[in-house]
């Protein structure tokens, strides 16, 4: 009766987490989380503030490494390779697993330079023409090209909030990532800019594995095919989005999504 928009992916999981624990000093922020993320289904992480969803998201490209006292246990793999392996090149990892943040954070440089920066430092392009092509393609994929093609050399910070966020997505896309992590990407945007990002997520699905953290339940319902509900550092329920929002199995999930969380 409820249409299941999720896809049975025939590709192996892009990223897999097994029994992940995260500590900030003595405090345990994440307990025993196991989850698979594939290329064909957008995954939404939902849960109340402090539930650990952003913390867990950040373990997927080792952003927690930058926080003193943060420690990750368990295993997280990207295409089967442990990303916490000491040999892992973290800079390379973050190119493969890109991130978009809550507040748009373009570099204080031109629109063009914002997008060109990554491919250039990662040595992904050969010459100006190649770089131009990557910049254009990234901006097109981010749904921003038509709005900025005539002013590529204006500052990225002069764009509207929604345009800045799409610029950040273009910047993440430019280094040809496999996974895009989004941490409340629309919370600072108006409804129209939000709708554009959501449409963009829809278009990017399949090309990249996408994980989005959101406080907006309707947004999770709209953009994702799989939803994970976190509470007190645990993964309470992970399932098909249409099921989670119409008939969740766990009482804690139901109480949260129906606004009974007390």
């Amino acid at each position: 009766m409820i249409e299941d928009h999720s896809v049975k992916s025939d590709r192996p999981a892009k990223m897999s987490a097994r029994n992940v624990n995260v500590f900030y000093g003595q405090k345990q922020a994440i307990s025993g989380v196991s989850i698979d993320v594939d290329m064909d289904n957008v995954v939404a992480f939902i849960g109340p503030s402090g539930c650990g969803k952003s913390t867990f998201l950040r373990t997927l490209n080792r952003m927690n490494d930058t926080i003193a006292g943060a420690r990750v246990e368990g295993q997280i793999t990207l295409d089967g390779t442990d990303i916490y392996n000491p040999d892992m090149d973290v800079v390379q990892l973050r190119a493969r697993v890109g991130m978009v943040f809550q507040k748009p954070n373009p570099f204080p440089k031109s629109i063009y330079e914002n997008v060109a920066y990554g491919p250039r430092i990662h040595g992904l392009v050969d010459g100006k023409a190649d770089l131009d092509a990557v910049v254009e393609q990234s901006l097109r994929r981010a749904g921003l090209w038509d709005e900025v093609k005539d002013r590529l050399h204006e500052s990225g910070t002069a764009l509207s909030g929604g345009q800045q966020q799409r610029l950040c997505i273009a910047r993440a896309i430019a280094v040809d990532p496999e996974v895009i992590l989004m941490d409340e990407p629309c919370s600072a945007l108006d409804p129209i800019a939000t709708a554009k990002i959501e449409e963009l997520i829809h278009e990017l699905r399949g090309r990249y594995a996408i994980v989005i953290v959101t406080h907006n339940m309707q947004q999770a319902a709209r953009v994702s095919q799989h939803t994970a509900f976190f509470h007190l550092g645990q993964l309470v329920e992970y399932g098909v989005t249409s099921e989670i929002f119409t008939n969740p199995r766990e009482v804690r999930t139901k109480d949260y999504i129906t606004g009974r969380y007390g």
């Binding site: 339940m217 309707q218 929002f245 008939n247 969740p248 999504i257 009974r260 969380y261």
Partner: protein, 234 residues
């Protein structure tokens, strides 16, 4: 609400309570209308029959209120999970109760046509059939109020008995018509009354199925339904 836990936003609870109240009021009126229509028929009470026809409008008005409130809740509260299922169920149940009200009106309208001479044997059985059909409606609405899916399944089981009544009355009336061609008109009206009651039972079953879905999130399994397949004469 369902599990006794309140929403953080209290106004949401108030609206759900109001929605349930409207369904209960509407259901109560529809039950009473069927019961009284049957009494009016048996007693040839034209005044009561007229009143039932006129008061059907009240049921229609409550249905419109349910629609407005349900749409408002969906638009403003964006209900999810059991809340969503309950609001959708309420919206659909209101439509079904409105139909039950129409059947009561239909029965009441036949009262003057059937006349005062009750020689037809079927008329002695119709009130029992009406009582059973009304009990089903009441049971389905009680199940809705209590979110009791097991009670909803029991309501569906009773539909078979209403169908049995109908089949029995059908045979009786057909026989009666063959033996008394002069009363065919009257008997035909009674046959329609029986058919209306049979439909009330089906609608109570529909309500029960919605209650089951609202409570459990899955459709009622086929084997637990009363089933319409028995009313071959329908």
């Amino acid at each position: 609400m369902a599990n006794g836990t309140e929403h953080t936003i209290k106004a949401f609870d108030d609206e759900i309570v109001a929605l349930r109240g409207l369904i209960a009021e509407m259901g109560g009126r529809a039950e009473a209308a069927i019961e009284q229509a049957m009494q009016a028929l048996v007693r040839h009470d034209l005044e009561t029959a007229r009143r039932i026809v006129a008061e059907d409008q009240l049921i229609d008005e409550i249905e419109a209120k349910v629609e407005r409130l349900a749409v408002q809740i969906i638009a403003l509260r964006a209900p999810l999970a059991d809340d969503l299922r309950e609001v959708v169920a309420a919206l659909k149940i209101a439509g079904v109760i409105e139909r039950i009200g129409d059947y009561a009106k239909n029965i009441a309208r036949r009262t003057p046509l059937i006349g005062g001479r009750h020689t037809v044997e079927a008329l002695s059985v119709l009130p029992s059939m009406a009582t059973l059909a009304v009990d089903m409606v009441r049971g389905a609405l009680d199940a809705f109020a209590a979110r009791d899916w097991q009670a909803a399944v029991r309501v569906c089981d009773d539909d078979r008995r209403v169908d049995d009544f109908y089949n029995s009355i059908f045979r009786t009336l057909v026989t009666f018509m063959m033996e008394n061609p002069a009363t065919i008109g009257q008997a035909a009206h009674l046959l329609f009354v029986a058919k209306n009651l049979e439909r009330v039972g089906d609608h109570a079953t529909n309500v029960a199925e919605m209650v089951y879905y609202a409570a459990r999130g899955t459709p009622m399994p086929e084997r637990e339904r009363g089933g319409d397949e028995d009313s071959v004469e329908s």
